[in-house]
């Protein structure tokens, strides 16, 4: 494991407002870290401090061993950064823009040519390379920004909402690209699209009101849901009341919820245990037919709400 990004007790105050308030986490090589939180939680502010754009009020950031305050140029040389909204020079073409980035990144000659073509290919912007950026659609602008970030094959990537405003196909392409790159890089992506937690991330950090609320794997995040390991079950040809009283009588079940229509019941296990097999056996012991049975992993949106809303109080 190679530690690529180390963030220690990072804080940024704007006057009285504590935009980021003592956040610590780290990212290893080969890891995609999903940076979650509601709008205004401090995600972008944190990323701006990691990339050296904003100066922290206190705390330290190290990227590939370089301190962002002591050696900002080395930090920036090791980073690829897609700022929020993917700003670019609107009157340039993607070709001219990427060549400028390559120049400043110290690439020249064949290496520059290869870097520009390779980045354009990976971001799938080859056919718009000679149109002014201002005439491109939102999706293409985002991909131009992405091409710029990956151009010099940096060991660390910081992507602020890389899939925001893209259509489902484009989102899929960008996620595929990030997955492909993840094995030899340390990547932070910020998002509030929860489906990306599973599609992309190896680990998640959740912040709200500038404070760190969670740091763990997507599965651990789901396990915090009250729906974690809950089982939805429907029994055919048996009276609902009879099934309900039977389910309530089982020792390993904490509570039962009747679902609307004929979809059956949702049962919650004691202490969040896995009960699918046990439950299926118990029902069949009654000689009842199970018409459907499935366990839930947990609901991220519910966990997200619980964690972030709870912090407002």
């Amino acid at each position: 494991m190679t530690l690529r990004i180390e963030i220690d007790n990072l804080a940024k105050h704007f006057g009285e407002i504590k935009a980021v308030d003592g956040v610590s986490f780290s990212v290893n090589k080969g890891e995609v870290l999903g940076f979650l939180g509601p709008n205004g939680a401090g995600k972008s502010t944190t990323m701006k401090m990691v990339t050296g754009f904003l100066t922290p009020t206190s705390g330290t950031v190290r990227v590939c061993g370089h301190d962002v305050l002591e050696d900002p140029i080395s930090v920036k040389a090791n980073l690829g950064y897609l700022p929020e909204g993917a700003p670019a020079y609107a009157d340039m073409t993607p070709d001219g823009f990427l060549r400028f980035i390559a120049d400043v990144r110290g690439l020249s000659g064949a290496a520059k040519q290869y870097a520009v073509e390779h980045a354009a290919e990976r971001a799938q912007i080859k056919h718009v390379m000679f149109q002014p950026i201002e005439t491109l659609s939102k999706g293409y602008k985002r991909r131009v920004g992405l091409a710029q970030a990956i151009l010099h094959n940096p060991p660390v990537l910081i992507l602020d909402e890389p899939t925001d405003g893209l259509d489902p196909n484009q989102k899929h392409e960008v996620r595929t690209l990030i997955n492909e790159m993840s094995h030899d890089k340390a990547i932070i992506i910020s998002t509030h699209i929860l489906e990306e937690v599973h599609a992309l991330c190896h680990r998640n950090v959740l912040i709200a009101n500038g404070k760190l609320k969670f740091d763990g794997t997507p599965n651990e995040l789901e396990a915090m849901s009250r729906y974690h390991n809950a089982v939805c079950v429907a029994v055919a040809n048996v009276d609902n009341d009879k099934v309900l009283s039977f389910l309530k009588s089982l020792a390993y079940i904490a509570s039962v919820e009747e679902l609307s229509g004929t979809r059956g019941f949702r049962v919650y296990p004691q202490q969040g245990k896995q009960i699918t097999a046990e439950l299926s056996q118990s029902i069949r012991d009654n000689n009842w037919d199970i018409s459907s049975l499935h366990a839930e992993n947990g609901r991220l949106d519910e966990v997200f709400r619980t964690i972030t809303m709870g912090s407002n109080k």
Binding site: I73, D91, P132
Partner: protein, 246 residues
């Protein structure tokens, strides 16, 4: 300081001028204004002298009006579009970016100035002027343009709004010119001690440019413009650092 970074930023900025009509509009307006004022305000022909004094003496006033139009976009556009976040997270120092942008604008102004060369040919065709004086005139004008640009670049970093940047640069530039203008100095000399009047006058672009445009190369005048440029660019870097994320 990484010279190649300054070069790349300058190159990008300069190509930006020609990607839009800005460059052509500016150059044509500049040539029209200098031409018009040389012949009609400066009475180039009626004077009957083979020099370009009427041409150069109008430059401070043309620069006050036109240089802010070049400098206003230098930083305020970066801040408005958010591209400043991109620029400042590239492995480039603030001062490299400040210099790159400044040199681009200065070189561009130099090009516009150079395109006045037909006037130089004209005066050589009509008479036999002292070409040394004319060359120092161009040099002085170029230096002075750098001073105006440095002011404008710094002001441009203070706001996201290009119109505000234009108006503020125009006012600050005007102050730097007017402090050497006869009427203003007369106003002060009627009551203020001579030391103060001299101090005010010595801050003026007009005072320092006048000598150069007459062919007198005084190191103090050169040093004056160089330090104006340096001080304003230094302030520019400080302002960019302080306001980049606002």
């Amino acid at each position: 300081m990484n010279m190649s970074n300054i070069w790349f930023i300058m190159k990008r900025e300069l190509s930006g001028y020609f990607a839009t009509p800005v460059a052509y509009v500016f150059i044509i307006s500049f040539l029209l204004l200098t031409g018009f004022s040389t012949f009609f305000v400066g009475n180039f022909f009626e004077r009957g002298e083979a020099d370009l004094y009427p041409f150069f003496s109008i430059h401070p006033w043309i620069y006050v009006l036109l240089i802010p139009a070049i400098s206003m976009r230098l930083w305020s556009e970066e801040r408005k579009s958010g591209s400043i976040e991109l620029l400042m997270t590239l492995p480039v120092s603030v001062f490299e970016a400040v210099l790159g942008k400044f040199f681009a604008a200065w070189l561009f102004t130099g090009l516009a100035l150079f395109l006045n060369f037909p006037l130089w040919i004209t005066v050589n065709y009509l008479g036999s002027p002292d070409n040394g004086v004319i060359i120092t005139g161009f040099l002085g004008s170029f230096l002075m343009a750098g001073g105006f640009l440095a002011i404008g670049a710094c002001v441009s970093a203070t706001t996201k709004n290009q119109v505000i940047a234009f108006v503020l640069s125009l006012i600050v530039s005007l102050i730097f010119v007017l402090s050497g203008y006869g009427i203003v100095l007369d106003f002060f000399s009627s009551w203020a001690p001579k030391v103060l009047v001299d101090a005010i006058s010595s801050f003026s672009f007009l005072t320092h440019f006048d000598a150069i445009s007459k062919g007198v190369i005084d190191l103090r005048d050169m040093f004056y413009f160089a330090s104006v440029i340096f001080v304003w660019l230094f302030a520019n870097a400080i302002v960019v650092n302080a306001r980049k994320a606002d």
